[in-house]
Amino acid sequence: MEVDDFILIEQSSMVNSKRGIKVQNPYLPYPVRIDEIITETEDKNLKTFKLVFINPDDEEKFAYKAGQFAELSVAGKGEIPIGIASSPTEKGFLMFTVNKVGLVTSYLHAMKAGDIMGIRGPMGNWYPWDIMEGKNVVIIGGGFAFTTLRSSIVYMLDPANRPKFNELHVIYGARTPGMLLYKDELAEWEKRDDMNMHITVDATDDPDWKYNIGFVPTITDQEAPPGDADTYAIVCGPPIMIKFTQPVLDKLNYSNDHIIMSLEMRMKCGIGICGRCNIGKEFVCKDGPVFTLDQLNMMPKEY
């Protein structure tokens, strides 16, 4: 249902050069202005960029769902695929948390509020919100892979959406307290009574640390509800976390079609054309990035 809607929206704004309709170029970024830059982590390697569309009409064209990503475009440097950290329920801006690793991200980290850049998207599929309606949702995240999970949590906590979901559990860990993203929001979520929030760090010598200490798989084992037909786990994190969380979810009886994951790949076009992000016949940019473990098990192990 939702997938069909998505394709319909795409087609209506699409090229039909035979009928002489003006071709919309899917490679052309929408111009945006950097509204605010927030340094998230103590190593200063993760910054959140709040972007505002220069042409207000573009915001409507950029209608997205939690779990999708976009190509951030910096003129003269290039483009990078980054998960959308803001929620569709937050209007007037988009938010991306970017780890400094390469050419574009390093340049982006040196930009300042007011600078002009571009954005293409939204791209890819999203977490299966229609299927998860009325179900328990367990979000398990580690490190800086928490971005589209933040989008998902904010989306589900929106007063209009919260009644659509049953229990909401969140397990989120980082190496140290200073490496957690969105610290103010985490503290607020911890206080809420309509979700079960479990923040954890691998280790800390901070005597005032009042949350968990332990790796994400361990905390998952202790805190996650048992798996059943009405419970879905969304898992995003570094490969090592995923590797050790999977046996825990197996033990808790989560079936593979109730374990949802989001993949990363090197990308260029972001729309399934340039050919590099495939796993078997699926393109992570267009057919993903969200796959169930069931789907991943049918694909070659090449990611």
């Binding site: 394709i7 795409e10 087609q11 699409m14 090229v15 050069s17 035979k18 071709v23 919309q24 170029n25 899917p26 490679y27 052309l28 970024p29 111009p31 220069i54 475009s73 910096v74 003129a75 003269g76 440097k77 290039g78 483009e79 990078i80 780890n99 690793v101 390469g102 991200t105 600078d115 002009i116 850049m117 571009g118 490969p239 990363e264 790949m265 090197r266 260029k268 076009c269 729309i271 399934g272 054309i273 340039c274 050919g275 590099r276 992000c277 495939n278 796993i279 078997g280 016949k281 267009k286 049918m298 694909m299 070659p300 090449e302 990611y303």
Partner: protein
């Protein structure tokens, strides 16, 4: 069905007339090798060759193509905003394209012209092009167009088929686009359709009989993707490969590209360039992780894409037209026909 006869003397005259309404592309010898290029005024396509070294995919899909331009000068109102540039999508015709290379455009079309996303550059160039095919009388030992679902007189993807009968050219009109091209050239000497058709059929049979490569593709579809992926023959198939990427650049059905920005002072462009799955950088993550960092993985990707992933995804046959370029040009003699047999017969 309509057939036109062209005396070889009126060939050059017609092409000259076409120059007013079409950008003409054809094979010409550049240095040592034939390649497709835009013909200068009065320049004739050289039809004496077997086929060009590189495929004519560049007529529609150039090796490097500018997508956008921008200025970084903050005194300009639209600085750092990418702008579309004017491109020439006036009618063009590629003359002397072999049927295998013409069909290749239909093979790559589902990638550039997908239901959800359309590549405007490829689509507009493709639609602007008239394909004047040149039937192949003397296929060479590496040609395997017929087992690849194509053929030396194959018409799919062509607007006109040009047949050399030695004393004149015979043209089979396949589409309306082809018809318009003929009238622009002023070629209209219609001949008896039955006789022409018989003549072409005879020539086609003779040409097809010369293709002796036998490649089986019938079992590919029924194989399991992960079984083939994990097959034991990849190490041996990839052993000699030096990852030079020649196969992917020469191939008429390889479509992968990279997108890069280039800046000259304040002025910059965003462009796309052919890329190759043979190179490690193609899939290298920012983190340093690379899902295809070994040669075996990259060789496997190329063959699996052409002979399995494409087959499963589009139900349009294999992503190969049997032109044989990758076989002829491979410096270490890797032969797609052999790999295809290994894949097709894998697991009994």
């Amino acid at each position: 069905m309509k057939f036109i006869k062209i005396d070889k003397e009126s060939w050059a005259k017609g092409l000259e007339r076409l120059d007013d309404s079409f950008r003409l592309f054809g094979p010409v010898k550049q240095d040592k090798f034939h390649n497709f290029k835009e013909l200068d005024k009065g320049e004739l396509p050289d039809l004496s060759l077997l086929n060009t070294r590189l495929s004519p995919k560049s007529v529609v899909y150039p090796q490097s193509e500018v997508m956008f331009e921008y200025t970084l000068d903050e005194n300009k109102e639209d600085h750092h905003i990418l702008k579309e540039i004017d491109k020439d999508y006036s009618p063009r015709a590629v003359i002397g394209i072999r049927p295998c290379d013409a069909k290749a455009f239909l093979v790559v079309k589902p990638n550039f012209d997908a239901p959800e996303y359309k590549d405007p550059y490829w689509i507009k160039s493709y639609e602007a092009t008239t394909f004047v095919g040149y039937a192949c009388d003397t296929p060479c030992s590496t040609c395997f167009c017929t087992p690849a679902g194509c053929g030396p007189f194959h018409e799919e993807g062509l607007d006109l088929l040009l047949v050399d009968t030695n004393d004149h050219y015979l043209i089979k009109v396949i589409t309306e686009k082809g018809e318009n091209f003929l009238s622009a050239a002023g070629w209209g000497a219609e001949v008896d359709a039955d006789a022409a058709s018989d003549q072409i059929e005879t020539m086609r049979h003779t040409a097809e009989a010369k293709i002796t490569s036998r490649v089986s593709t019938d079992e590919l579809k029924d194989k399991n993707i992960t079984d083939l992926f994990e097959a034991s023959f990849w190490e041996e198939a990839a052993f000699a490969c030096i990852n030079c990427g020649t196969c992917t650049y020469a191939c008429p059905t390889c479509w992968c590209f990279d997108i890069q920005d280039e800046t000259y002072g304040y002025y910059g462009i965003r462009m796309r360039n052919w890329d190759s799955c043979m190179y490690p950088l193609f899939t290298l993550h920012g983190s340093g992780h690379n899902p295809r960092d070994t040669k075996i993985q990259r060789v496997r990707q190329r063959f699996m894409h052409k002979l399995k992933y494409y087959v499963d995804k589009y139900e349009n046959g294999i992503q190969c037209v049997g032109c044989g370029r990758c076989i002829r040009l491979c410096p270490v003699n890797i032969d797609i026909r052999r790999v295809c047999e290994l894949m097709n017969s894998y697991g009994g």
